[in-house]
Symmetry: C2
Subunit: 193 residues, 2 copies
Amino acid sequence: MAHLGSSVEYGLHCLLWLAEPAAAAASSRDLAELQGVSPSFVAKIFPRLEKAGIVSASAGIHGGYRLARPAARISVLDVVDAIEGLKPLFECREIRGRCALFDGKAPAWSTQGICSIHAVMLRAEQRMRAELAATSLADLASTVARKAPAGLNGEVRLWLGDRLDARVKARAGDSPGPPPAGSSARPRRRRAP
Amino acid sequence: MAHLGSSVEYGLHCLLWLAEPAAAAASSRDLAELQGVSPSFVAKIFPRLEKAGIVSASAGIHGGYRLARPAARISVLDVVDAIEGLKPLFECREIRGRCALFDGKAPAWSTQGICSIHAVMLRAEQRMRAELAATSLADLASTVARKAPAGLNGEVRLWLGDRLDARVKARAGDSPGPPPAGSSARPRRRRAP
């Protein structure tokens, strides 16, 4: 199994649609369907991104997720850590102290400092993390923008706008009359977008 | 789950006992018991190391595994790849071509070149691998040697020698008489040490 799974892949691809400065808030369902991946899978990813301060959520039919800070200040590493939760490259079981010669009583020298095998793995992990930290969502978005035709972002906004319109109309059909004064047509409970 | 599992950890620790220039051949069982880890687990690791040309095996009661080349020419990466089998850091599912706007027909520009998300992951993997390649078994062994008391390697040789002696005696007890001329006391089938 790969170390960084499909949650990271789906999360990054969906976040790229929010990286454009003019992007409106979008639900995780719309982002997932725009990207052609499982909405129920993506619905589990966005709360983790929100918890990590990468996206912020707003409620209501016009609500949804937006980036919580500029795309240039969100690194691939931020997204990986938010989704995967600091999964280590290697877990040291400290077996260096189990040598049969020690007869169950590992001498101090044998477990002093960090295990040399663990140290190599930590250095390798650090290199990997530094590389993931060196690329931001803005960098990824500009790579995609260099390839894509000029009108793509506009088309995406239209596609998301059409879905919102359809929802607004469907909801209006659900509650045909205006709500009584002082009341709300829908409870104002904050929903995950 | 960590990317590099206990097979890598056990394999590296056991190989360190073979990195000393004066090390005799040792069975995977003796190496596992010397290190205080599961012999059946280690028995599955050594054939992979042999297949990758990291250790070589010799048959017979005095046989066992030795390093197949000098410890300075065996990197941590060689051992990781031999044991884990080139497990990728990230598997790209090419979801960039699935955008709903493409309506099932991804335009050429959308799948041209490597996916920018995959490219970041490949760079991160490359950094990780370069760091694992930069440390050899000889480097690890010298780090351990700097910590350990001077007599440790001698004690290890004695411990392994005692186990060999016990096996030789036990086998002699099994077959008290010399084998008839032209025959062999045991079939000469090559055994995994």
